[in-house]
Amino acid sequence: MDVYIENLKKQFNKRILFELRDMEFKSGRINVLMGRNGIGKSTLFNIIAGLDEDYEGSIAYDGEALSKEKMQDITLVSQKPYILNRSVYENLAYPLRLRKYSKREIEEKVEFYIEKLQLKELRDQNGRSLSGGEMQRVSLGRALIFSPKLLLLDEYTASIDERSLGFMEEIVLEYKETGANIIMITHSKEQAERLGDSLVYMKEGL
């Protein structure tokens, strides 16, 4: 799902946070978004994900405005993920249950991601008691599991240990092959270089 942003202006009270003339994120790529703390990256993600409707300007998703149907194909892996107060298994299953997947499909997919994200030991643990890095894994799995066409990753490996970083990046690279649009915020130049197909820098007055 291509995203095209035009004249997007966001302000808090009277203070203008950013005004983006135009900006494009193409599908089938990993689009890296960088910029200093507080420049408005997460705020932009919230807007793109449809969580914040208090802005001026327009965003086109495959040329169209945001709709309920489109929302079904967009997801955000938040910088501060909120993991549901239920087991890790059920956290992963939740988006599938929302979409009325069959029991078998749910089990298959969830087990697949539990394996892939090395969550086997945490399978039945409550999501609210996870460690920072564990939450980020669950959050990624929960997002990928329903195959979104637009995936917003907000510093999704900030708390991931060195050993796991590899597979966390690998998973996203693999996912790119589905043709989805992946936009990723990171503060690590190395990560940007490893994964990014394009790079946008948010700057003051852009």
Partner: protein
Amino acid sequence: MDYILMGIKEAIALLTSFDREVYSVVGRSLLVSGMATVLSSLYSIPIGLYLGIRELKGRRHISRLIYTGMSVPSVIVGLIVAIVLARRGPLGDLKLMYTVNAMIIAQTVLLTPLQVGLSYSLARNSGKRIKNTGTTLGGGNFDIVKLIISELRPQLMINVITAFSRAISEVGAVMIVGGNIKGYTRVITTSITMFNSMGEYPMAIALGIVLLVLSFGVNSVVYSYNTEE
């Protein structure tokens, strides 16, 4: 002060007497207030949460209106339900007046604004992150209401306990639509009021203690479903 001591003694006597009359009054209180709490929860909590997660226009005014509803005096609720259920009223044919069912209806109505208000406040103050999470995972408004219910169950339980405590301790509504008829619609609070107007204070206090014992029991049961710890 003697009244209080006598009341405590009387309460012990009542509780250990296994008097059928006493137990039926207690049972009726539990039935009426319990049913009203359950019934009002069923629709008021979803409604309150739904209003809370919607970004409605004129939100400030809506909030105030919702909270204002919590102040409806129970006598007024009783009166209005009585007008509707009375023989000459629109639902007179159902012959509900002065029955346990009428009391349940009145208390259900009474609890509605309280339950809507408390759930609304919960959604407004603690529901934002849950709403965002649900939305990004593809949930609609209805899914999000369900999600908040499961995520904030301990807090909702307290709201339900608060509602139950208002129901079990109120007398205005049940008195008007029930009439405190012995053997039919007499509950603990209407008995207390009656004994109070008879000047039988120890008995009134005794029943107050019985009510608290009952309430403790109910809270214990509800609380054991509360995942707080």
